[in-house]
């Protein structure tokens, strides 16, 4: 699963930083039928989480109705230099993850 994640590479301690996540995914709702009338099974990213130096700072439980290729934006406080780990999984069990580092100065 392709993804685009934007984390500021540098921040001041205590600064509120914006995190942006865009993941390529069909987000099949589970309400659509195919050409011969069979229900298409739901397949959405159901969890997206972000850990900052091992501590979970953001978590979203997504479901039907979120558009394909979901875009999620959230904020966190720059605390210490380190790594943000992103993790997501869809209904078919496909997982994705990404890491980005952040430098926090005084």
């Amino acid at each position: 699963m392709a993804a685009r994640i934007q984390v500021p590479s540098q921040a001041k301690r205590g600064e509120i930083v914006e995190i942006r996540v865009l993941i390529q995914h069909p987000m099949e709702t589970g309400y659509r039928h195919d050409d011969v009338g069979h229900l298409i099974k739901r397949n959405v990213i159901n969890v997206l989480s972000c850990r900052y130096n091992g501590v979970e700072v953001f978590r979203a439980d997504l479901s039907s109705g979120i558009s394909a290729n979901p875009y999620v934006q959230f904020y966190t406080v720059a605390d210490k230099s380190g790594e943000l780990e992103f993790y997501w999984i869809d209904d078919e069990g496909q997982q994705g993850s990404e890491r980005q580092s952040i430098q926090v100065g005084a």
């Binding site: 392709a2 993804a3 390529q24 290729n69």
Partner: protein, 259 residues
Amino acid sequence: MSRAAALVAAVFAAGTALAQQRAIPLAELKSGSAFLGADLLSLQKDEFANPGMLWVQRGETMWRDPAGKKNQSCASCHKEAAASMRGVAARYPRIDPASGKLLDLEGRINACRVERQGAEPFRFESQELLSITAYVARQSLGVPVKVSIDGPARSHFDAGEAAYRLRRGQMNLSCAHCHEANWGKRLLSETISQGQPNAYPAYRMEWQTMGSLQRRMRACLSGIRAEMLPYGSPEYLDLELYLAWRARGLPVETPGVRR
């Protein structure tokens, strides 16, 4: 009259004739983005959040990945796309000098795959073809569309214009009825655009994915209850050339975001 003055007069006359040829005057030429709401326009301009950039990003990886029997990547021949592909998309569709055939950007890429890489061509509307096309076209961001309709391209251009003006389908409409005579007016909740091709492949909200200009044309055909020609039909190529000629001067916006 001096020779210089005559030349100036001739150039001026040619310029006027060209200006008259335009279906829509240059000053009124509007990209599809001019018909978007503020939300979609800002999404298109946002280099990070524009969902089409997911395809561009994949295309960038594909550019460097060797493929086919010859184990060549795009970069093996064309090096850095930022330099070698700048302005290329603005010149397509164009006649391939080797085969004499009219090729759009997708067709050019597939010809490269077969001839230079010894690989299978990508299927129409496949994620691969959309990704690499979007990546190549992205390198021409802001470059004005400028296609040639001279020489062997002329017959394709004429066929394209004829196709553009042909009434078809149960609604008996041609492209011109909406996109030339009535652009800017409302069709139910939508504002009719000029049908400009400068942002394709584009991410369309209705599709919830990326699609080619041919897919967009098929959507129009379906809308007027006309027969949808199969992907890759010569008529689409001729139309693509006519649309690009009509759009000359508009900047490439790939990947566009559209309703």
